[in-house]
């Protein structure tokens, strides 16, 4: 990073902030590199490489925040960035409640590098392309597959964080992910199957080894077969049933109904106009039964290889693991220095910005449902009549994170403890606390995996970030299920 901007110059920026009367300032110098490959119906339809860098400066002046981002890093432009950020803060101070207060953080000078074994940018392009085209060929063997898609994405971010309170933190993260989707159509219906999950796939922190571990080619043919089979599969019948969720479906359930509900800025109304609030009020901590005793949810930014892991958040607060729901009891939030201070607590280290050009806001890091004690077979074996859903298709939840409706690409009927026929268009809905209280079993660590949501959106302007979720399988009783609008 020294080659981009001399570190002395960055300290000059902070000095200029101090001279302008700023009480606190932090800056992020970020360089990002991405590469994505997309195949569609036998063609490489997108091969893109992107690099960008810039500086984001956040200041606290007259008790209010201001932020300015600039890609131009010469000194006159850096000075201009300071002027803009201070000007924004002073304008904010014209309409504030009390002054912003920050929970303390230790000044640390250190560095952190995320997990990576094989640099994905060093893998020959030909290898990546051949992988996608071989998978395409496997999916193409099925006549009714009308659209075959493959996607690989890689991202590296180098970040230098400096603050006026003495922090100097360098972080280097690499993410890799991908997906395959086969879409079958027969003139009246259209069904898709994806692996490992739809919507830009499963993103993990790591390198090419993440792609190797996905074993795409072993699944490509299955996707073509299942999408075709689903065209004629019976529709998921409506009713009340036992539901076993796993993989990306359970990961998204955790994300939407637990991850977002525990973001403290939402509780204080920061997202009232956009992403919404939360039904979890501060006085509910330690008292509100969020779920059954089988349910323990943690926020953990230290999980090796998870998409939302880091060394320090974008306020320089160290990554840590803390409980959100402990054996069903709601106990904690994800917070930043200013939101945590309002509760008289230290920050949980959950402030992040999508890029140098964005202001940090409270974001999920990784939110995990901890494994239980049952095996997957025991969970299924305990179902007389029910459904198994693993691959998410659709999701919708209200603005307080209470009432949700999710759909999966397909469901398998479970009958007397055995997985049997496939069903299309399975949809289920519920209310967050009742749903999680109906959880009577979570599978053990043998089936616990980390999933990555690469496209979590929040904030105005919108910031899209990657977050991680470790889940195994979980069983829920008496869940309202419908298909094709039969509710």
């Amino acid at each position: 990073m020294d080659a981009i901007v001399d570190e002395g110059r960055l300290h000059d920026v902070l000095a200029l902030c101090e001279k302008a009367g700023v009480a606190y300032a932090d800056l992020r110098l970020v360089r990002t590199r991405t590469e994505s490959l997309r195949s569609c119906n036998g063609r490489m339809s997108g091969l893109r490489s992107h690099e960008d860098m810039g500086l984001g400066l956040r200041v606290l002046c007259n008790g209010a925040w201001g932020f300015a981002g600039n890609p131009d890093l010469d000194w006159p432009k850096l000075k201009k960035t300071v002027e803009r950020a201070v000007s924004m803060a002073r304008a904010s101070a014209q309409l504030r409640q009390g002054p912003v207060r920050l929970s303390p953080v230790e000044p640390v000078q250190d560095s952190w590098i995320g997990a990576m074994a094989k640099d994905p940018f060093a893998i020959p392009l030909g290898s990546k392309i051949e992988l996608l085209l071989r998978c395409d060929e496997a999916m193409a063997r099925f006549e009714k597959i009308r659209r075959r898609e493959g996607y690989l994405s890689f991202r590296r971010q180098e970040k230098r964080f400096l603050s006026s309170t003495g922090q100097h933190l360098d972080q280097d993260c690499t993410w890799s992910g991908g997906l395959l989707t086969a879409t079958a159509a027969d003139g009246s219906r259209c069904q898709q199957r994806s692996y490992p999950s739809p919507f830009r796939g499963r993103l993990l922190q790591g390198g090419w080894e993440c792609i190797e571990n996905l074993h795409f080619e072993e699944h490509a043919r299955r996707l073509g077969r299942e999408a075709t089979m689903l065209l004629d599969a019976p529709i998921c019948p409506p009713g009340e049933t036992t539901l076993v969720l796993g993989k990306s479906q359970l990961a998204l359930q955790v994300h939407e109904s637990c991850g977002h509900a525990t973001e403290l800025d939402r509780v204080f109304g920061a997202e009232a106009n956009f992403a919404g609030s939360s039904f979890l009020e501060p006085d509910m901590r330690g008292r509100f039964r969020f779920g059954s005793p089988s349910v323990t949810l943690v926020a953990d930014a230290t999980t090796a290889g998870a998409a939302g892991s880091y060394g320090w958040d974008d306020e320089g607060v160290p990554a840590r693991r803390h409980d959100l729901v402990r054996e069903g009891l709601f106990v904690g939030y994800q917070s930043g220095r200013d939101t945590a201070c309002r509760l008289g607590e230290p920050s949980s280290g959950n402030m992040r910005a999508a890029g140098w050009n964005d202001i940090p806001i409270v974001r999920m890091s990784n939110v995990h449902l901890l494994p239980g004690e049952a095996t997957f077979d025991e969970l299924i074996g305990g179902v007389d009549e029910g459904l198994l859903m693993t691959d998410n298709l659709s999701w919708s939840i209200d603005d307080r994170r209470l009432h949700f409706q999710f759909a999966a690409e397909m469901a398998w009927r479970i009958r007397r403890g055995k997985i049997c026929e496939a069903l299309r268009l399975p949809v289920y809905h519920g209310r967050t606390p009742e749903f999680w209280r109906s959880c009577d079993g979570v599978a053990d660590g043998d089936s616990w995996e980390i999933w990555g949501t690469p496209n979590c959106g929040k904030g105005q302007p919108l910031q899209v970030m990657a977050v991680g979720h470790g889940v195994s399988y979980a069983r829920f009783r008496k869940v309202a299920v419908g298909g094709d609008h039969d509710f």
Partner: protein
């Protein structure tokens, strides 16, 4: 904002470095200042700018694209090298269409209003102080965002084609929440500063939050709905994502498959993608440089046209309609400037003739369940009321809907006489203009009680 001349110079410098058969350089970006407020105070105040230069290179039929936000000579040379390396690593794309040569472009509908960018954070704060003062007086808690910015898109290719478009944009949205949790919301979007009135937005939202109405429960059932513009926009956006692209139709993924020339909606529906209309101003070219046509998608409820890019047009013996999306996103052609034609019914008449109905301010978290069926789900938010004989009689909880969009648009009883413009998704210059609609038998399937 980067001027047309400056953009042309940067793009030409980039193209000059290339050794290839074909190339396209695209620059896009702009500035954005956002003042965000919550709990009756400014919570975030940010200003940012960025421009990205993308170089798509074709060598021996092999395509690669590299992009960067740095435009100095050394960075341009590195960008060129990266793009060439990528294209060399690809197999030849035998189905690829060549880039267009110079061609006349329609007149742009986009507006550049200097007063948008001239609006300072201090001025925003002053007006917000006034608005919050009113809100406090009414015992309301206010949250929202006021963003002002500009955006430009410039494209040049190795065949000598050049296109440039730019516009300013202003967006104000506000949520007012009363002490009992009742809320109202309003939003305005325009390219001209004078067309966004934050005070008027506050009054609309506050009026809804303060309506002295008791809460009532609602048994989930199909009901007549009066959908305000934002709710209509949600439904139309669901259709826009899946229905009109020629690739989706060819692959059997669109609800309009096999229905060209058929009536699929109420005869009251006329839907057009029109970048030149004052309600949906946009850019006159797409990401391939093709001229953007005015496309009448639905006329009198009958499917008339689909959208093409150069690739889908070639496969259909058609012409590009100028709706290509950025290279490599896998989206196919998409609408950018949709307008649902206004009707003849005033809002007041729509209210008074509704009988018993549900008034919906906006929908939230809308998501497709089945793309082929165009079935969509979502919830109401920030102002859902029971309407009876022209009067709002109760405040309702949030309601979940599950609807097939073609059914909804077939059951339109009345179309409002006034268009509201909303920011479109994604593209520079994207906008959507819709009237209010009254629809019967709109299926609410769950309540937020």
């Amino acid at each position: 904002m980067i001027s047309e001349g400056h953009a042309r110079r940067v793009l030409e410098r980039a193209l000059a470095h290339l050794r290839c058969d074909e190339a396209q350089a695209v620059m896009r970006g702009g500035k954005l200042a956002v003042t965000r407020f919550a709990e009756n105070a400014i919570s975030q105040n940010s200003i940012k700018k960025d421009y990205v230069l993308s170089l798509m290179v074709v060598r021996n039929g092999r395509v690669g694209q590299a992009s960067s936000n740095r435009f100095d000579d050394a960075s341009l040379k590195e960008l060129v090298a990266r793009a060439e390396e990528l294209s060399d690593g690809q197999p030849p794309d035998l189905l690829r269409r060549p880039l267009p040569g110079p061609c006349p472009l329609p007149t742009t509908g986009s507006v550049q209003d200097p007063s948008v960018m001239a609006l300072s954070p201090e001025e925003k704060a002053e007006l917000l102080k006034e608005i919050v003062g009113r809100g406090r007086g009414a015992k309301l808690e206010l949250a929202g965002a006021w963003s002002t910015g500009d955006a430009c898109l410039a494209l040049a290719n190795s065949r000598g084609h050049f296109a440039y478009g730019a516009h300013t944009k202003a967006l104000f949205s506000i949520t007012c929440t009363a002490g009992d949790g009742a809320s109202g919301w309003a939003e305005q979007f325009a390219q001209r500063r004078k067309d966004v009135d934050p005070l008027a937005c506050y009054e609309r939202a506050a009026t809804k939050a303060l309506l002295p109405l008791a809460r009532a429960s609602f048994r989930p059932r199909p009901a007549t709905v009066l959908l305000e513009g934002a709710a209509v926009k949600s439904l139309l956006s669901g259709l826009a994502r899946t229905a009109f692209g020629a690739d989706a139709l060819a692959q059997g993924r669109s609800c309009l498959c096999g229905r060209m020339g058929e009536r699929v909606m109420s005869p009251l529906v006329d839907l057009v993608d029109d970048h030149g209309h004052e309600s949906t101003p946009g850019l006159p070219f797409d990401f391939e440089g093709s001229p953007r046509q005015v496309v009448r998608l639905i006329e009198g409820g009958v499917v008339r046209s689909v959208l093409h890019d150069r690739q889908t047009a070639h496969g259909s013996d058609a012409r590009s309609t100028g709706h290509a999306q950025p290279y490599g996103l896998g989206q196919g052609p998409l609408p950018v400037n949709l307008r649902l034609r206004a009707g003849a019914t005033s809002y007041e008449d729509m209210l008074h003739r509704a009988g018993e109905a549900v008034l919906v301010t906006r929908f939230w978290y809308d998501n497709l369940i089945d793309r082929r069926e165009a079935s969509l789900t979502g919830m109401t938010r920030d102002g859902t009321f029971l309407l009876r004989d022209g009067e709002l009689v109760a405040r309702l909880p949030s309601l979940r809907y599950n609807v097939r969009l073609l059914d909804a648009f077939s059951q339109i009883e009345a179309v409002g006489d006034r268009l509201e413009t909303f920011a479109g998704a994604g593209s520079i210059g994207a906008a959507m203009a819709v009237p209010a609609l009254r629809i019967h038998a709109f299926p609410f399937t769950q309540t937020g009680d």
